[in-house]
Each structure stands twice: as C-alpha cells, then as structure tokens.
Subunit: 342 residues, 4 copies
C-alpha cells in the first residue's frame, strides 16, 4: 500500500521538529513536504532549522528542501500544522480550501463550531463535523484540531469518569518549558523559580474540555455540562506537564471506583500506529507520576495518573510536545486515515 503523503507547516520550530520526529519512520505516512517561512524556503532543512531534539535528524530529512507555506508549493495528502495561532487562521483555511486535510495543533480553529476538537480516544465520532464544515465553508479539504497540551492530559482522564456525572473540574498545572517553544522561556526567568502565569492558557483550558467531551448531535457539538477552573504555572521541567485535578462528580465515587474506571478505559481505536496500548496508565506508587520517569510512557502518547484520593483528587502527567501537541495531531490523522478520510 502506498503511503499517505504528509507535509508539515511550520517545520522548523519546536513543535514542527516533533512532527518530523513522529513522521520520519511512520508506517502509514511519508514525509514529502516541509514548509516554513520565506526566510527558510529554498534552503535545505538542515540549513533552515537548528535541530534541537536528541534523536539525530535522518539525512534524508536533513537534505529536503524547505518550501513556502503555500498550498501550491506543498505536495501532500495531509498537512500537519505547527503554525502560530495568528498565522494559522488564514493559512489553514487556504490549505483546506485547496483540498488538503489539515491536522492542526494551532488554537486558531479549535473553538469553531464546525471544526472537530479531537482526542481520538474521547470523541472520534466528532469527525462527523467534517461534512458540516465542508458544506458550510465550501471547502474541498477540511481542518481537524487537537486541544491545548494541558487540556489533553486531563480531558483524556475525564472521559472514563463521564458516567459519574462530572459537575466541576479544578486544574492546577505545572507546565514544562518546552510548551512555550525554544525561545519561549528565558533561563533567567525559570531557573530555580516558578512563573505562576502562562498567557492565554487558562482560558483555553477552561473551554476546550467541554467541547472534547461534548456530544455530536449530527449537526453540532453540545458541550459537556461541567465547569473548569484552572490555574496554570510554569516550572523548571524540560518536558512533561503535571496537573493536580479535583473532579467533583454527582455520583460521589470512591477513589477505588475512579481507579477502576481508569484501568478499564479501553477506547479500542483499533491499532492505530501511535495509539498507546493503554491511553491512561495508573501508577500506584505514592509519588508517581513524575515527568522525568513517566513522560515517555507509551512512547510519549500515554498519560499517567496517580495519587487518586478522596475529593476526587488525582495527578495526571503527560508529554506535552508528544501527546500534547505533535503526537496528538498525528493520532488525529491516523484515525482520519483509518476512516478513509485521507
């Protein structure tokens, strides 16, 4: 079977590099196009980007020529967008209009009522919105988005708790610096320090989970009926967002019942290549999960929970640039492929 041609928009930045890492030996996708700003276009990728990841860049990727972020220059069936939100608004529409499937990690379209905000283990049926989107906008292609990195971690854990009738969720996050991009957090700001503020983050966290866990009624998403209150903090950790969660539920479950719900959660997507064996790993040690030890669980695609206590309180931790960004978009594209939408 021929591989699906994949492009990356914004290929030189931190999330763009994670996309390339996820895609360079992907069994279904073939990296055919790397697009970046004018400054980079025309250069070899190795000249255009300063590679920052531990895994050595394969030479076949290093030698690819970067193209402009322009539908006419990109050859691909699906494009992965690591663009900043302001650019993404116009560019992703251009690509969708031109017939591309756009799997976007940008926030630009997440709140649009006709654009799926996807975590495949939670709401694969929201893909029904694609038809609504294409009809409404007259696009040949379409846009599918994934939530903000902080949202993904706890939203995934709320899915198996939905039958317990969630009323309210409180999230205190301790977020890794990689979430802000390579130049995002100066070392003088964060060494031995906490910054109790991440611009725009709490707003995203407070509105995205309800859409992800909402119900598709054939035409639109009816938001899940709980409120989220967030406090987001930057910590001196390289990768891995840790979140302390309070989930108030009408059925007042015990910690053991919540643990069982996590353990028995089996979304059964059907062997997508980057789907972890278990999307939620339960750690029973008293001091887990921890970013350093648990962020690469399930190749960075599983989230780990622990310390499930009365309240209900628990900790969730996941890799913010894999499960929380590039890996999330790739998993979205895999479910698109499986459903024959690419």
């Amino acid at each position: 079977m021929a591989k699906i041609r994949a492009g990356v928009l914004g290929a030189t930045g931190a999330v763009g590099q994670r996309f390339i890492e996820q895609l360079w030996d992907h069994p279904w996708f073939e990296l055919t196009s790397l697009a970046a700003s004018e400054r980079s276009a025309g250069k070899k990728y190795r000249e255009a980007a300063r590679w920052r990841l531990e895994h050595e860049l394969p030479s076949e990727v290093a030698e690819m020529t970067v193209v402009n972020v322009d539908p006419k220059e990109v050859e691909a069936d699906v494009v992965f967008s690591a663009l900043p939100a302001d650019e993404a608004k116009k560019v992703e529409a251009d690509f969708a209009k031109a017939g591309f499937a756009v799997a976007s990690n940008a926030s630009a379209y997440r709140a649009e009522p006709d654009v799926p905000l996807m975590i495949p283990e939670c709401n694969a049926d929201h893909l029904g919105l694609v038809e609504v989107q294409q009809k409404k906008r007259g696009w040949d292609g379409y846009i599918v988005t994934n939530p903000n990195c902080t949202t993904i971690m706890f939203a995934l854990t709320l899915k198996p708790l939905m039958p317990m009738d969630i009323q309210r969720v409180i999230v205190a996050s301790m977020q890794a610096v990689s979430g802000a991009g390579y130049e995002g957090v100066p070392s003088m700001a964060i060494l031995g320090n906490i910054i109790p503020f991440i611009s725009g983050e709490e707003e995203k966290v407070e509105r995205e989970a309800q859409k992800v866990l909402g119900t598709f009624d054939g035409d639109r998403i009816v938001d899940a009926p709980f409120a989220v209150s967030a406090s987001c903090h930057r910590v001196p950790v390289m990768d891995g967002h840790t979140e302390a969660i309070w989930a108030e539920m009408a059925t007042d479950p015990t910690p053991e019942e919540v643990r069982e719900a996590f353990l028995s959660f089996n979304p059964g997507l059907g062997d997508l290549p980057t789907e972890p064996k278990r999307p939620i790993i339960v750690r029973d040690e008293p001091d887990r999960p921890q970013p350093r030890l648990d962020r690469n669980a399930g190749k960075g695609m599983a989230v780990s929970v622990g310390r499930i206590r009365e309240g209900i309180r628990y900790i969730v931790m996941g890799h913010n640039t894999v499960r929380g960004a590039a890996g999330a978009s790739v998993l979205n594209a895999e479910i698109l492929s499986k459903k024959g939408m690419l």
Copy 2:
C-alpha cells in the same frame, strides 16, 4: 533593658540554622544556648554544624559550645524548637515543665487543644490558651507552636477574607526543597522534575488553618467552619513555597473586593522586630509572585499574593524557612515578649 535569653533546640539542622540567623542580631533576644544531639554536644558550634546559609556565621556564634537538649544544660528564658516531631513530643514537654517558654516549629503539639497554633497576625488572642495549658498540665512553662510552612502562607491570606464567609479552600502547592531539610530531597529526585507527593503534608495543611482561624472562647478553640482540600508537590526551587488557592466564599466577592481586603489588612501587632510592614503584599503584575523575586519581601516575613481572579482564585508565595518556619516561631516569641509572657 536586658535582652531575653534565647536557646535553640536542634541547632545544627536546616531550621536550626535559620533560627540562629534570625536571632544573632535580634534587638530583644540574645542567643545564649545552642542545643543539639549527643554527637554534637561539647563541641564548638562551628565543629558541630556544617553551616549552609549564605550569611556568614558570626564568630561569636561559631565559638559557642553546643549543649545537650536537656533543660538542665540550657540557659534561656525562651527556647526555639527545630526538633523533629517524634523527639519534640517528649523534649518540649520537659522544657515546658522545667519552666521554659517553648516556641516550637515542630508539629508534635500543634493539634493539642490546649496548645496555641499561632500566626500572630491571625490569632494573637489564642495565647489565652497558655493559662489553660499550664493549669491542665501543671507546667511552669508552656508551649506555643506555629503551623506548617504551607499552611502559614495561605492561612495568613484567609484571615482578611474571613468576613466574606469562607466555605471551602483548595490548595495546590509547589514547595521548595529546603522544606525537607538539607538531606531531604536528593538531586536525582528533583532536578528537572516534579514530585507530586510530600509525606504527611496534605494532612497537616487540611487541618491546621481551621484552628488558626478559629475562635478562642476562653477555654478552647472553636475551629473555623470551612474545609480544606490540598494537593502538595515538590518542585526544583531552593526556597519559597508557591500555592494556587481557590477560596469559595458565601458572599461571592469580586476579585477587586478580595484585593482590597488584602491591601487593607493591618493586624497592627505594634512594631514587633520581625513583623513585616505589610504581612500581605499584593503584586499587580500579571506574573507575580515568584519565589526568586519575592521570597525575601519583608525580610522573608511577608507573603506575596497575585493573580486574584474570579473563583476566587489567587497565588500566594512566601519564604518557607523564614515566614514558614524559624521566622514564624521568632515572631511568636516576640508577641509573647510584648505581652509580658517571657
């Protein structure tokens, strides 16, 4: 006026060193006795202790001879206890029985109904318990305690909110490593990492604030009628505990009303030497307070709040080994002195 003679119990450890730093040039107290374990007793302090603080140990302290933790060997009017909880139980009672005023940072007696759990700005009137304590136990001296470091930060901020009828408090802490003592947190555990667990901490945090903010009815403390739910996390920060607080109040105040309450909080203890000009400093910048920038505010005795948002949510940060430990006990002793109890 002659200075009050002060001793330190457990003088060689991390909190003991902070006690010495608080006391060596104190205007009211004179450091007369340093007590530590048998291993140290009989040695010069500079031989017994490995000094870990930035401020150079004055030579007059360095040359003091360490004595045993024994009321017969300690010459002082007030002793400051930096003992571990298990030792403190017996030893502090011995000292109180022998007529010493004991200002303790240990947790051993905090929950005892006849022992004040003091933050002078919150509950100086709880000192009335001392008489109850002496009568009940037949002691010539007495014990006064201060809360756990994490409790002190947010309890202080709850005091001015009490008129707003607090129903429930949620605390997510990001705690500095110095809270665990010098050998407490291995670097391999915490470098670039978060440990989402601190043994016994959440239990303390969940029960101490209600006593501090309770009412003394002449005989006992009636706990303040709110619940506290905590999740405590260790972060790679040297000094300064940061806490994200959600405070639900029946009167549903606006963030601006809460800010005003913080700003107008003036406990007026009357110029105690280590009392900060303002116990609560309000930071209006979007990204403050931060441990590195704010922990030494008010010489480490003020707490800083910021990001007061709907919910009510806010951030509080304070120096855990000054305001949260040694400085707290010293301030307790100062109020004792002012009230003529030393």
Copy 3:
C-alpha cells in the same frame, strides 16, 4: 548457544540498577542472580529496590529473589560488581577465589599491578594480566576492572592521540549528579549551584589513564609516560559528564589532525553487543557535545567530542553511568566472553 549466567553484586543501588538495565535483554548474558545486602536478601527485587530508571523494570526481574553477596548464594559465570570500594576489597576477592569472573566497577582493585584496568577499545591486550593475577593469588576466577567514569571519557579520546606523543593532560570536569549515587548529592547542595569538589575523584583521574594507556610487557603494565592534572566539579546535570581537556603533545598536531585521528579511530573489537559503531563521535557544531543531546549516543556507549581547538583543547562528553560505569563493565565482560575467558 546457551547464554552466560550473569549476577549483579550490589544490585539495588544506582549503578546496580544500570547493570540490570544493561543485562535484562542482553544477547549473550542471562541475568541469573541479584545480590545485595542482608537487609534486601530474601526479598523479591521489586520489594528490595526502589527502581529509579525510566525504563520500566521487567516483571521477570522484579520477581527475582535477592540473595546475599556471597559466592555460595550466587549462581553465575560472571558477576558484575557495583559494590562500594570498601566492601569490594574483600567481596570481590572472595568471588574470584571461588572461581567467578568478576567485572568490577568498584575502585578497590584498579591500582593493583596484576589487575587489568580495562577500556576494551584501548587495551584489550591487558587481559594478559589475568593469568599473572591467577598465578600470583592462587585464584580460580579473576577480577577485571574499569576506570572511574571521568577517566573513561578522556582516556578513550587519548588512545588515538598516543602516536602524537602526549606529554601532559589537563582535565576540568563538569560531572553529573548520578555519579554520586541516588542519595549522593542533596538538591539543596546543587540546585542552581556548582560544587567544585568531588571527594577522591581527582586522585583517581590523575592515576588511572596512564595505566589504561600503558603497555603490557607480558608480566606487568608500564604506565604511559604523561602526567594528568585534574579539577573536578559537580554540576546540576542528571546524567552525562562533560570534560574540558588540554592535551599537550610533543608532535604539536593541528586541531584538524586531532579531528582526523578521532574520526579514523576504529578499535575493531569485532561486533561486541554493546560496542558502539563509533566509540568516539566527532561533533562539528560550535556548541556540542552537550549532555542532554549527546549522552545517549551509541546507546550511551559512545563518547562525543567537539570544539577541537589549538592547544590542543577539546570537549569530551559521555554517559557517566552507562559508558562510565555499568556499560563499561558489561563491555569488559563481552570481550572476556569473546576471548573465551568466561
């Protein structure tokens, strides 16, 4: 072919855990015995050890029963020693006497004239000492050691420079905390700090390289005739020792000649399982090697060099608990196996 039975002495500590990680799916060795102190003996390994590595402990290892560090209780053809130096002196001799091959990471026997101090890429022929050792001591088994972690990194890079007639070597090390064991460096000592002292380290560094690069004359090692001067520093890095090296050579080579010597270094051990494709990787970027990016090169068994400048000065960096400890002993055992000595 039946696998060679391997035991680990000191299996619960930091280096012991790295040994287990190196051995649990090794193609030639089979983990048959885990030995630790009396406190651990008799317990399942998962109960005796607190597993600290990112790779999840396989359940077949977790369920192994720990035995005492006693030749009578250990079933193995080769034992890997992660014992502290003081214990190692007696215990390793006991095992060698009892017929075991001992591949030791401890410093106890490194300086003994009849014990090989091995880096297989440098001095595989020093294994001739084994016969000398057995004859002299009357042992059925024998001990083979590897150098200190800091020595291994630069000694490996000196091997290809030996023809240039090395006169003097200066080493300034920046060493990761994992080299001191899990409890070795308190976070309060090292967070945002440098400790310019590591007990005993400079002495080891200054005497080991000359033996490794010395000549076996059939009976004993004639030390290589250069002097080493070291200054060793602890830095807040988890894994990976970085070393700034000045190597003065009589032939006064250019940086380019040194680079060529590194690049063409091919010790040709013959496909040992953990032997990296290239033991020395040359990084030509201006700011490499770096611990975070390069420590896992060659699965942690390659060292990376960069910034080769006039002087001759260069940087070398390697994984201190893999190439510098457990992996070093395992590679030693592999060459023993290849030479039919197991």
Copy 4:
C-alpha cells in the same frame, strides 16, 4: 559635598538594571539620567523597562523619564555604559568627545592601546592613559573600560601572584546564565545541561588579562608576558562565574605560598564606597567557593578562591553581573572620582 551626576546608557537591559541598583543609593553618585533606545525614550522608566532584580525598584527611579542615548539629552558628569559592543563603538566616542567621562562595561574599546582596561585593585596607574587618549583623539572627555566578567575574576587573583613570575594560565569557566542577558540563554538550552561554548568569550579571556596586568610606561601598556588558554562553558546557574585555574609560575610556589599571597593582598585603594574589605577571600573549606553561597561576598564585589592545590591549581568564583560588570564600572568611576578626574 554635591554628588556627582551619573547617567546610565542602555538602562533597561540586564546590566543596565544592575548599574541602577549599584547607583540608586550610592554615597558619591546621583542617578540623574537613564538613556535607552528610541523605543524607550520619553517613557517613564517603569514603563520602558521590565524590572528583573529582586530589590524593588525605588519609586524615584521608576518615575524618571528615559532619554535617548545622545550626549545632548543626557545630563551627567559620568556615564556608565551597558551598551552592546557594536553600538558602544560610536556612542561612547560621541559621549567622550562631548566631554563625558565614560565608564564602560562594553568590549568595544577594551583593546584600544590608549584606553585603560581597569581593575582598580590591579592597575589604577593605567589611568595615566587617559591623558594619552585625550591628546591623541582630541576628546574633552574619555573612556575607561573594565574587562569581561570571566577575566575580572581570575585577573584579580593573578595580581598577587605576579611576583612569582607567571608563565601560563589555563582557565576552564563555568559561567552563569545572567552573563548572556535576560533573553540570552533559553531555558530549553540549559535546564539540566551544559553548553560548552560562549561566542567570543574565549578570545576576550585570552587577551584581556595581559593588558590588565601589564605595565604603564608613561605612554602605553606593555602586556604582562604570560599566555592564557581558555575553555568557556555555560552552566545552569543564575549568577556567579566559577573558574578552575591552572597558573604555571617560574618560581614554582607551594599552595601555601599562593594562599599567603592571596591573604596578604591589600591593594589599599583607600575606602572607595563599593570596594570590598578584601578583594580576594580565601575559603579553606574543601568544597568552596560555590556560586550560591559566595557570590554576594563583599556585596558582590569580592571574589572567593579555594582549593589551592599543587599545580598551581585553584578555584575562583565571583558575581558576574556585579564584580564582573556593573560593579566593576562603578568601582572604576569611584577611583576616577578619588583621583579628581570627574
């Protein structure tokens, strides 16, 4: 006595802020002018700059109006330059021509033969160059520079060793992130990592000490006749450069003789306000100096040495943005003032 009017050029950046901190309550100087780029000019300082230091910005400074970096807009007798090297070349000349004394931390003029490169404790007599400079260039004012931060630390320690006939100096530095400016080192680059490269640093370190320790012959400086070889590394430390030094001396002194030379070093500048009581502090503990404990010695103006060993090897550590930058220029201006040159 009226205070000397002082301006800061480049007042909003990291070094500019340290200048302000050094000057706001200086006994001899009065902060009269804050100059920065066009973007800032015309704004209040508190609006133009994001204050990053722990000491709260005094309101009288916060309310000052920033002016352009233009001699016509700056009112001052002496200006302190925190400009980047490329800007400094032209701007400092403009100010010197217009009659200002310029105390510069920039590298632009350090190597000019007629510009003093000053460490007052080392070479106050080099101020004789000012007359040469003014005559040669026809300036009413003049420029005096201080060395690079890394140079200052070890050059200061070499001064008392000069009688021992220094032949060669090797420097391996471990430099704090604050040396690169607030945005200079991304946290993703340095958290838990070492970067073995600082652009242009080794070149500066290798040529500046010889000039500082050279001899003024009435007309020019004759460089001190030793060679310096440096390897510079960035480490995850906020403030404080640590340097491992090898100093080869013809007289082959013992470590004890070197220690005595450091201890008896008394440059006797005569009570300049920021002059530390001892410019070189000798630490006899085995593991000092350390940045966290020693950087603020002498209010950040002393350097601390330790671990003096055969070789001669030792460690020197000092505060890079105080002694190594802003404080160095201020001390230069103090000696100018004392000599009646302001």
